[in-house]
Symmetry: C2
Amino acid sequence: MSTATDDSVRNGVDTVTLFATLDAVKEAPEAAKFQFRARNRWVSGTHSRTTIDDYFGVGEERAHEAATVHDIDHPKVLVGSDKGPTPVEYLLHALAGCLTAGLGNIAAARGIELTEVTSTVEGDIDLNGVLGLDPQVRNGFEQIRVRFDVKGNASPEKLRQLVEQSRARSAVFDVFTNSVPVAIEVAAG
Amino acid sequence: MSTATDDSVRNGVDTVTLFATLDAVKEAPEAAKFQFRARNRWVSGTHSRTTIDDYFGVGEERAHEAATVHDIDHPKVLVGSDKGPTPVEYLLHALAGCLTAGLGNIAAARGIELTEVTSTVEGDIDLNGVLGLDPQVRNGFEQIRVRFDVKGNASPEKLRQLVEQSRARSAVFDVFTNSVPVAIEVAAG
């Protein structure tokens, strides 16, 4: 961002680079084909640990600036060791982060300066499903509610439209509200 | 687990407590109604930070043994600041952690000792969707592939059946392969 003018950086988003990136992908749509990965190792009981590092995008293998490690577990009340958040809490986190990232970009593109954005995502789940105790109960969330508080230099209506546009372009919202094929392969021995 | 015999703890899972918990929920199905939460705050650009701490379950408000904080961002090649994994990588992580937690529990219940479980989850995504450049392309993953390597004191067939049973009882697998209603509310100003 060192070459950007003050005007081009808004909400921490370099809009010149943002629009240049959009133009570049328009010219070369293959650049937008990404593959993301998570590499997990079981630790004990319900506790495992994931490393997130490499990915493919813009035509080549890449890596994050820093690999990150993420513990995941069940709480003790569910016979886990509570060494980290539950899998389903990470889903809620991903939704909050996806909608918020879109909000930052879209506000910048529309010339709106955000001052504060917070959100709470709640998911209701009846564990009679995953515990196998009631075949009428699904395994996953029954419902998810997102509550955003958005402050910035635009009308409440325009701020609400940012969230609506972010929702309309959210990868995580799409995964939650439409199905994705998941293939599972097992090497055992 | 201090009162458990050696035989009852397998793969780090106290099976006596596991079965007692199942029996308790059978007696009081309302105990299995949980609400999980993620609280997010925008930092700058596409970077935000989520705190995971409190939840509701077994009839009362609870909290993890330790609150955890999770950075989430877009990589620089996508005009982010790469301060953490992307939202969609957290989805892949959640799937790995959910299937692996189930595996630990189910193996323990079936008397199988696991020695090593690793998995890699890959998700293909064409960002022409989220970038709004091609209305034919969805926003989310087009496909997710999970590759498990499972080692333990059972036949390859029995080890593969553990993964299959974990998939059949996975909350995250259900969210990905069936839709969940997501309601979004915005307070703006």
